[in-house]
Structures are given as C-alpha cells and as structure tokens.
Symmetry: C2
Subunit: 379 residues, 2 copies
C-alpha cells in the first residue's frame, strides 16, 4: 500500500473520523485509524464500538491530489498519526507500508517510520441493507438534535433516558428527550411521507457527535435503520451508531394541554436575567430561582438567594401576561438550557400550578417545539 495525498484534504477527513476514536477503549485496535487504499480512493475508518465513522477520499477529485501507487490496508495509532500529519512540512505527504506493518510517512525532508497493525484484525462495521432512507435537511436536523439532546439524562441508572426517542409516522418525525426533570420535544414535517415507520432510541452522545459532523453548509442527511444500528450518510461520510434497546416511556401525556397563567418573554432577555439570578443560586445548597407573576400589575419578578453571599431581585415586563397570579421555583440551569435552545425569539411560558410542570414554546410555530420543566417545591 502506497499513496500520495494533499495534506489539507487528508487532515479534514482525519478530523471527522477521529470524532469516533477514543483513547479510553478496552479494544486496543480501536485506538487506531484504519486506512484502505483501493481504486476508488482512500477510505478512513474510526470507531469506539458505539459510534463508527467512515469517509471516502475520492481518487478522481483533483483537489485531493490523491495518487494511489499500490492498494492495501493498514491500521495506525490514530492520535499520534494525526499529530504527525498535522506537523509535516509540505503540502502533500506520501504514505508507504513497507515490510511487516511498518509505515513510512514522508513530506519534504521529514521522514517518519511508525509501527502499524494488521487491518484484518479491525472489527467490521455493521451492515445496514435498508433500502428506504429518510432524507433530512442538514440544518434542520442539526437544530433538532441540539434542541433535544439538552434534555437527555447523563445518569446511567436509567440508560434508556440517555437517548433521544425518534418516531416517524407518515411525514412526521418526532424527537423527544427527557431526564425525568425536564423534557424537550421537536417535530419536523418531512416534504413527503416516508415509506417506513421508525420507533428508535439513539444515544445522546452519538447525536452530539453527529451534529458536529453535519457542519454549516446544510448538506442533506440520509437516515437508514437496521435492527440495532442507525446509519447517517452525509455525502461521502458514513456515521454509524448503535441504538438503545428497551421501551421509551410514553411522554405524550406529560405535556399539559391547558394552563392557568401564561406569559410571553423575549427568550434572550429572560435568559440574561436567569443567568444573573443563578449567580446567587449556585452559591446556595439548593440551586433554586423563584419567579413571581402578577397579571394585575403586569410584572414578573425573579429572585435568587444565597444565605452566605447575598440575594438578587429583578423585575421584568412580559410582553403579555394573563391568568392567575403565581409564585413558582425552579432549577435555573434547566431554564437556561431551555431558553438557549430558542435562540433570539419570543417565547410563551404556560403554567398550571406551582407544583406542576410548565411549558415553553416559541410564540410563532408553537406546535413544533416544546420544552417542559418540572418546578422545585420550596415550601
């Protein structure tokens, strides 16, 4: 196996594949990066057993300056190999597997020789032969991920809650996550009805990495399923993740339909004042911020308190405030995560009682995105 390649093009794909490679794996060969050179080009593979990423650098794209002198495969220590490639002096590099699995990497006058591993010992990627794929806009799907993963549990005591629950029926994709203190639900209407029905739970960690790989240029993302794996295809990049096994709790009845008090705020302004209040609540044993709503005077007031350090009080003027007066306490960190996920829009918060979960929705397009937060009892 021997090839020459443009270093910048190679580094770009190295970075993508490295997302899947962990130095903490219990399977030593998975600390390596698998390289396969064939007539089509160079394929890079990385995996931590949960996530696998594969990417193809085409031989026929002149930007890649890829010339394959002889085909073959090798596994190289990923972190170390990537450090070398990033520090090489010239615009191209040549990689040559010499005797055994010794690999020579040359660029300009610098020449590295490193010990590789037999690519035959590298685990096979899952086979996904599903023909029906769901196609999604990269930007929309990335937004869906970022809006839901915030509510995923990071406690392994209920592993099922560390994933996002995806259901697809006809033209509607629904994603829900909850850690049992808060919930986030996002709907996407697909341009056409899908031919398959999905009901799967994808680990939050996989989705976070996938969202980073989608990038800013709004590529199409294709999603395919097998029994215990999902494959996302983004151009020539393939992202595999295992699915979580088990039944996701029924969340459809958790979201209250009615409310007794409702208030509209600018999400960004409310976020800023919750951040101020949390400066104090974070110094306190019970991390709680209090909100009072008084529709008669049209005022909302936020309180934060720490017996050791001091307190803060701030009044806000909601753009709309209707219903009964209310005093409610909540974890400000849940509120901050929720508010950040809306960006810079107007939102509506609907309450039923100081002890019942309340919901946040964007004032426009309120059907497709809802966040739910359980309050904290302080009396």
């Amino acid at each position: 196996m021997k090839f020459t390649i443009n270093r910048a093009a190679f580094i770009k794909e190295l970075n993508n594949v490295q997302r899947a490679i962990s130095s903490k794996t219990t399977i030593p060969i998975l600390t390596g990066l698998k390289l396969v050179a064939d007539d089509a080009g160079l394929t890079l593979t990385g995996s931590d057993a949960d996530i696998s990423i594969e990417t193809l650098i085409h031989a026929d794209n002149p930007d890649n300056q890829l010339a394959i002198a002889s085909t073959g495969a090798i596994v190289l220590p990923a972190r170390f190999f990537s450090d070398i490639v990033k520090r090489l002096p010239e615009d191209t590099l040549t990689l040559d597997v010499t005797e055994g699995f010794q690999t020579e990497i040359t660029s300009g006058s610098a020449s590295f020789t490193i010990n590789g591993l037999d690519a035959n010992n590298y685990p096979h990627l899952p086979e996904i032969d599903a023909t029906d794929a769901v196609s999604l806009s990269g930007n929309v799907f990335r937004e869906l991920i970022n809006q839901t993963v915030i509510a995923v549990s990071n406690q392994e005591s209920r592993p099922i809650l560390t994933g996002v629950h995806f259901t697809l029926v006809d033209d509607q994709l629904l994603a829900v996550a909850t850690d049992s203190h808060r919930l986030s639900q996002r709907k996407i209407n697909l341009p056409q009805a899908a031919s398959a029905m999905y009901d799967v739970i994808i680990p939050g960690k996989s989705l976070t990495e996938l969202s980073r790989m989608i990038g800013d240029d709004n590529p199409d993302v294709e999603m395919r399923l097998s029994e215990n794996q999902v494959l996302f295809t983004i151009g020539d990049r393939y992202f595999y993740s295992r699915l979580l096994e088990g039944n996701y709790p029924d969340t459809s009845r958790l979201i209250p339909k009615e409310s007794t008090t409702s208030a509209e705020f600018d999400a960004k302004a409310l976020l800023a004042s919750i951040e101020r209040a949390s400066l104090l609540s974070h110094e306190s044993r019970n991390n709680v911020v209090k909100l009072t709503l008084d529709p008669e005077t049209d005022t909302a007031t936020i309180f934060g308190n720490s017996p050791d350090v001091g307190n803060v009080e701030e009044s806000l003027t909601p753009s709309e405030l209707t219903g009964e007066a209310l005093e409610i306490s909540f974890n400000p960190d849940y509120m901050k995560d929720a508010l950040r996920s809306f960006g810079q829009t107007a939102i509506k918060i609907a309450f039923t009682s100081p002890l019942r979960p309340f919901t946040l929705v964007p004032t426009e397009d309120s059907d497709n995105f809802v966040q739910l937060i359980t309050p904290v009892r302080t009396f």
Copy 2:
C-alpha cells in the same frame, strides 16, 4: 460609600486587579477586592500577599462616567462580584454600601445585595519611597520578561532559581534566569545611565503577570525598589511584587566564549522540525532528540525515536555550518522554548563538545540575547 460608574471602564480595571487575587489564599480577606472611593476617584486593590495590584479610576475622566455620591471603602468577594458586574444589564451600575457592610449593586431593573467586609481589616500595601525610578519601554520590557521567564525553575527545592536576576549598572539592565539545565540572558541598554544600582531577584510568576498587564500599546513602565519589594508603575496602575531573598549564583562564567562548531538556522524552520522530532521523543522514556552536524556535506540531521512507536529523521540545510562534525542530544522541550523566544529571525548555535552547554543567539544583535542549553549524555 456610594458611586455610579461606566460598567466597561470598571470591568477593564477589575480584570487587571483580579490578576493578583487568588481563591487559594490562606488569608480569607485576600479573596476580596478592596474598593475605595474618594475625591480623586475609585481605587481598586487586589493582592495574594506575593503580588499586589492597585489601580485608580479617575473621577475627572468623562469616559469613566464616575459619580461619587459619598466616599468610603469596602471589601467585596472578588470572583463573585466580578461575575455580577459582567452580567449586569445596563451600561452603568450603582454601588451603595448600606447598613453594616451590606452592599447594593443596581443596574437597570436588576438589584443585587451582597455581604462585604470591613476595609479596615485589609492588609496595607508595602510602602516604597524610593525616588529614583528606572523607566523602560513597555514593549521592550515585556519582551525581556518573556525571553527570560522561560528558563526560570518551577521547582521549589532551590527557591532562588524560581526568579529572574536583574542587575542594573550605569545604563545597562541585565536579566538572567536559569533552572540549572538551561539559561536565558537578556541585556537592555537604557537611554540614560540610572542613578541607582540594582541587584535583585524577582519571582518569575510575578513577572509573567506583569507582562500580561503591560498590554500592547507600549506604555512606559517605571521600576522602583525598596528593601524587599519592587513596584512597577504603568500609568495609573501599580504592580507590587516581593523580591526573593538570597544570593543568585554567578552565571557570568557559564556562557562559553569559544566554539568548535557553529551553525546558522532560520529559528522558525528549526522549531518546526524539532516539534516533529519531539512527537516521537515524547512517547519515549527519555525525552531526547539527536542532532548531527556535518560541515563537509553542509547538512544537519535531526533524529527522534521511540522504541514502541517508531522514529523520525529529517535533514535540514543550515544557512551556514562551520567547524568540526558533531553529534549531540538534548531535551527538545528546552530547545522549543528557546527557539520560540527568538520569533522569526535567523539564529546562530555554537557548540564546543557533545557534553558541554551550547548557546543560541540571534544572528543580528548577538550581544544582547543569549540562550544556553545543557545537552543530554546518551552514551
């Protein structure tokens, strides 16, 4: 004590004074920031007992929007107070010390009440009544600090070596640091002879903080000494540091005057290839890189090796190479620090033998800056 101030102007000086404040101090009041409002303006003080920083925000500078309603003093929890100030909603803030040491901070509709401490219990800053000051250009002095502190020891076993040794005789300021494996020496010729003679050791940590405070706009830095303290004045900012007590070793005879082999390199190109070689030496138990110089073929070759991972070899063409052939090994991290301190210039390295220290100087202006590195015996 009550005042209103422009938040941006206040934050700028808060950031400066906070350099001196550590949360790890054994003297609780030093985790606080001292504020004193008087007719001249607002004085901020922070200290960790080794370093103290004081800065004055003038009442008569309209940019500060400083209006002092009543004079007085207070000590506030520094980190927490600064977090609050940075998150306030409006361009100005009002600070009001109410009953006891309770302090109210208001900005727009946000109102914080925090518990302060009695400013009378804050330690006094050292008194430095020296009238003769040495004045230095900020850029030159910052460069001198950054070029010498790299060689300071971080081992407390010989505390004296954790400082930089400054001597001033007539118009020449000399700064030397060594950790006994390497040495860095920088000279500055002052525009006029100083009236005093200095021989002091300033802690490296103090100098690193001072260098950050000097900033990019090339301010004048004035240096004044007392028996065990040094005061640097930068405009309205006062930076105090304790001095290290003891006798600094005589370093003047360590720097060899003659050489048997000498080579000239571009500092940046040599740095890049040492960085590549250190990728391998860092994987090895003894972190060593080997350099061979062959004046007959005009080549320099760098070797890095790790038995587990592999090896690297790279040939360089020095712009000049004279004297005897040589093979020498050294710690690449010392070499990297030294090369970085030269920036993008041509340098000359002079060797006497594989076991004797070698020197690096800029090809131009070679009298004022020298780095010395002790090689590693590998045979």
